[in-house]
Subunit: 305 residues, 2 copies
């Protein structure tokens, strides 16, 4: 029977740690206040809910989050201008653009993401941050939130990653690809699977560490799992459930009930990877705010000398 | 008995193709001349030999190569200034900095590489180009030369890559890591191995496509190879050989004599990956020159309208 890797519990520890860290930094740097700007184009209801969660969580740890709302009619230039304003605002240390964009215009989401100053890119999606991560410069880049959260959960198993066999299902820009890079540079031997991969069950069977991010309800069956494996399930899929008031419930990409009989460690849904993502967004923001203040502190000392 | 994937032959085809392409572009754009600048810091003998080969090959296809030599005493700022001058020179379409640097000073090679304009980075080592490649934007980036050459050789086998099992030994910035990305985004299922990987022989055994780039003499044994596999050997290792006038000969990272009995296709050393690397540098330069001229052509048409 697997041990549950609770993102709910671990993310709370992280948020508490961030709160304490911010208070400590405020002693050192009076006026220190990490600022996160969340740019929303249009008004998708799900996006508004996610942004609400981020703002609420930010406030709880002492990060000042600002919700920058642009209308569905905003042009690409207007979105780029909004980002540029935040780039030059010294009270803003992290900028994210909530995706997908809800727009009437033809806006290139990659262009927008890459217009964020690399050092304020707390979603870790800027191509320079991706390039550094992919080539092993982990300390020089901002890590994407969901993979960073998955890595924390893996570490919470207490098992070392080095030399382990890891399998990642999915190669998206947000989850799968950066997750593979993170595992490779933590010295696992990583296999990346995607929609063209043949014989996924037998590849999954080899995994000491399995991360699944494909968005397909209970795609990974319990009997594919290697006994004792660490199983991280990023999937968030909604299925009908008459026993619930809402008429539905959330399930992952892994057949949880059976997999937990075989795995050594497993993440639940909900309460697994989900809450870690928001905690890591806040951690990235605090990290970048600290770096910005350290840099300013050093340069003012420099100016004095 | 494996078919030999001759980089000597394929690279010659590519160079001939480039020569024809340049002549055709000169018809279309009078004055068209692809320019490649090779920056060398210090005077390492091996670097000078490599640069000589690049310059000679460039001249043969009609690329104007310039060897920019800085002394061993050049500071980081001076190197950055030299690159900046080439960045703004419209007759230069490709810039490479020959590594390793031979310098008396503390120069950050990554900083220098990343100071090259992304669109002139014909070695494909800029972090933005790496980020695009790693996240699957292959058409938007400049591909690193050796991996691009390996991909050409794999394609020359006539086998499709999609859905195949690929194994890459090595995860360097120049060869292994970008090679894995290229295979993943050509839809192979890729496993990346490195010095912490356990049981490499059995992983190698699963590979329909095997690329080896570790720099260890005949590390991969013939009986590890899956029968019929495509084997690409990037290794260049010098071993003593009394039968040669020079007293040494070059061997790869794969035990060629035995592997060729098992593999379906295999690259020789010398005459395998090596000549492909230079051909791909020239291809990248011509590609970027064409893009620059097309852009200038379009914008002058634009100005006229
Ligand atoms: N917990 C959290 O905070 C977050 C959760 N998620 C969830 O994670 C899941 C994945 O998200 P995301 O990465 O954005 O999704 P994407 O749709 O962007 O990517 C899905 C990936 O899965 C691969 N895939 C799809 N079908 C199969 C299949 N049958 N076999 C193997 N691979 C397959 C795709 O392959 P190919 O590339 O070949 O198309 C693709 O690489 C979703 O459920 C999403 O809701 C996402 C972000 C954050
Ligand atoms: N033909 C051409 O034009 C070119 C050829 N080359 C040749 O290719 C080879 C590799 O070059 P390069 O990538 O630059 O080399 P690097 O030394 O930069 O990288 C070597 C890689 O191999 C891995 N490695 C080392 N030993 C082992 C082992 N015992 N088992 C598994 N993996 C191992 C290392 O792992 P780790 O990351 O864990 O240290 C590292 O990732 C060299 O022979 C080089 O001369 C290189 C460039 C161009």
């Amino acid at each position: 029977m697997a041990e549950i890797l609770s993102g709910k519990v671990v993310s709370e520890e992280i948020r508490n740690g961030l709160k304490a860290e911010i208070e400590e930094l405020q002693q050192k740097y009076p006026g220190f206040l990490p600022g996160l700007a969340i740019v929303q184009v249009g008004g998708r209801e799900d996006s508004t809910v996610y942004i609400g969660q981020k703002v609420k969580n930010a406030a709880a740890v002492g990060v000042k989050a600002t919700h920058v709302q642009l209308s569905r009619t905003a042009t690409q230039d207007q979105v780029l201008q909004a980002v540029e304003k935040l780039n030059t605002d010294p009270s803003v240390h992290g900028i994210i653009v909530q995706l997908p964009l809800d727009t009437e215009n033809d806006i290139d989401a990659h262009l927008v993401t890459n217009s964020i100053l690399e050092s304020k890119d707390v979603d870790g999606l800027h191509q320079s941050n991706a390039g550094k991560l992919a080539r092993g410069n982990l300390s020089g880049c901002v890590l994407p939130c969901t993979p960073r959260g998955c890595l924390e959960l893996i570490k919470h198993s207490g098992q070392s990653i080095e030399g382990k066999t890891a399998v990642v299902l999915g190669r998206s820009m947000i989850v799968g690809s950066p997750m593979s890079d993170l595992l490779t540079w933590n010295h696992a031997t990583v296999t990346v699977c995607h929609s063209r991969t043949k014989d996924i069950p037998s590849i999954v069977k080899s995994a000491d560490i399995l991360v699944v991010a494909i968005g397909k309800t209970e795609f990974v069956k319990g009997d594919w799992i290697k006994p004792g494996a660490i199983v991280i399930d990023c999937g968030i899929n909604s299925v009908p459930d008459e026993t619930k008031k809402s008429g539905k419930r959330l399930v992952g990409d892994v057949e949880f009930a059976k997999a937990k009989e075989v795995a050594g460690w497993i993440t639940p849904i909900p309460g697994g990877v989900g809450p870690m993502t928001v905690a890591m967004l806040l951690k990235n923001t605090v990290d970048q705010a600290r770096k910005a203040w350290e840099k300013a502190g050093n340069s003012s000392r420099w100016n004095l000398s």
